[in-house]
Symmetry: C2
Subunit: 189 residues, 2 copies
Amino acid sequence: MKPKVESFENLVEALEALPSIGKKSARRMAYHMVMEDHFAAMKIAHAIERAVERVGRCERCGAMSEDELCPVCADETRDQSLLCLVEHPADIQQIESSGEYTGTYFVVGSAQGLDEGRLIERVEEGVEEIIFAFPPSIASDGLILYIEEKLKGYDLVFTKIAQGVPTGVSLENVDMLSLSRALQERVKV
Amino acid sequence: MKPKVESFENLVEALEALPSIGKKSARRMAYHMVMEDHFAAMKIAHAIERAVERVGRCERCGAMSEDELCPVCADETRDQSLLCLVEHPADIQQIESSGEYTGTYFVVGSAQGLDEGRLIERVEEGVEEIIFAFPPSIASDGLILYIEEKLKGYDLVFTKIAQGVPTGVSLENVDMLSLSRALQERVKV
């Protein structure tokens, strides 16, 4: 017979639903929270509730934001002629960390998730260069072609971040040097 | 400039306080909860609050428990003459999972944390054998000697769990101490 401590087992199960958290990690995390550090535990619980309540998406670019406009879109000193297209909101934070980029962003999602109307609206606000910052893959190349096609009526330069970003690796796992190099050496598509 | 989404960053920071959770894992977990699965997120928050509120320790053995007595202590069919001493409450669940043990437990903590009065109370309830289930180490050996000394006035058999080569691990991956112990304590086939 295994001693069942129901609320503990429920916590383990809830944590296991997170990506890349296995049974052992979930158990270790739950044990720490319940038996060793109630303060840390309650801090996490409240931080989750608060973040879920407050964090949404920037109306203009789709970035993660607590306000209608994210800090980048709200910052009028950013270069409005540069529009960097990313797959996920998390990629924006990664690129900002490189300190290399002074333009604006637009979260694409996928070909299916792309809000064309909103992208065109952004382009018409004076964009001169579209920078594709997708991790290199066949699917990304397809998405690039698809978007170029949609925007062919506009006078735009299309570039993509330079290879140097290893194939098949998501942006969050790329080191800062490679990422800033890839931005500096972006190439015409 | 890194776009600060304060409540998100606070959640990442709170998660990083957990053992064996690094910056990247914390960020991935937070992102999943906040941007991809609010339901899973709120389930975790509520599970934490509930577990922190309900889970305490068994009055008798120190195991994790929602009630005054844990399921093992509340079970009168368990062999009360066997008392297994463990370092952490989590060790009890591990031993119970093996399905091998029918006796009772006592959580020792460390020499500093040991509640001697409560241990002696338990021993006087009819314990005949003390089983030390500590991970093999010099510190554990010291703790065993210390406890034996404290209980020398009682008619007890002292044993400890066998040391050796774990199942399913090739010999080249077994540490030298375990291997030499396994050779010393070899058994007839």
